[in-house]
């Protein structure tokens, strides 16, 4: 399932609370942008079809969606002596 929220923490204190970002708003904007760009992508794909790159251009859409939908569960935590970084897709 596509992640709805992202937990982000960049702090010096390991016990500090992070931000809960509503990434679904980003996805809405991104999907709207993808829909707007779709006719241009289709034209570019048709123009470059003979060179073989058109097929790959068309594939970017499903591949991008597939990556976004599987981001859920990604967890990156880095504890450094000076700073702690946490990125988690929920």
């Amino acid at each position: 399932m596509i992640p709805m929220f992202m937990r982000l923490k960049v702090s010096r204190n390991p016990n500090g609370h992070g931000l809960l970002l509503p990434v679904f708003l980003v996805w809405i904007l991104l999907f709207a942008l993808m829909v707007v760009l779709l006719p241009f992508v289709l034209i570019a794909a048709l123009v470059t079809w003979r060179s073989g790159q058109g097929k790959w251009l068309l594939l970017t859409y499903p591949l991008l969606v597939s990556v976004l939908f599987h981001l859920s569960g990604l967890y990156v935590e880095i504890e450094h002596s000076e700073q702690n970084i946490l990125i988690a897709f929920l």
Binding site: W56, L59, T60, L63, S66, V67, F69, H70, L71, S72, G73, L74, Y75, V76, E77, I78, E79, H80, S81
Partner: protein
């Protein structure tokens, strides 16, 4: 239960073959479709990479990364976008690292097989830092 399967289990019971041999024989009996579906029944959901400071390390840096296997599969599909003219550079870089492999020959099936085999992967390195890579 079919005849071959029964025979293998009888041989195991009689001690003619070991458990590992029986396992191999039973796996060989599966059709390619069956073995493929068996491979897809992977229990591994995440790939975990943990880097912790070792006992003699002065650094207190820690890294804890959990990557969903589905994301790895989806990300690897982007490998198809590597332009053909870059293949020779990749092959050259691999050769310099002592890996004799033709990048152009890697198919999506190979990648899928590689990812499905990650189930059994556990890497533990203990040096200045403790590194653990495993599936969970």
């Amino acid at each position: 239960m079919n005849e071959e399967r029964k025979k293998i289990l009888e041989m195991l019971q009689q001690g003619k073959i070991t458990v590992e041999e029986a396992e191999k024989l039973l796996a060989a009996l599966l059709s390619p479709e069956e073995s493929k579906s068996e491979a897809q029944k992977s229990t591994c959901k995440y790939l975990r990479v943990v880097v912790e400071p070792g006992p003699q390390s002065e650094d207190r840096d820690r890294v804890n990364i959990r990557v969903p296997m589905k994301l790895i599969r989806a990300g690897l599909k982007w490998a198809a976008f590597v332009p053909k003219h870059a293949h020779s550079s990749i092959n050259k870089a691999l050769h310099e690292k002592g890996i004799e492999m033709d990048f152009a020959q890697i198919t999506s099936e190979d990648i899928e097989e590689l990812v499905s085999q990650l189930d059994d992967l556990t890497v533990e390195v203990e040096g200045k830092e403790k590194v653990r890579i495993c599936c969970e």
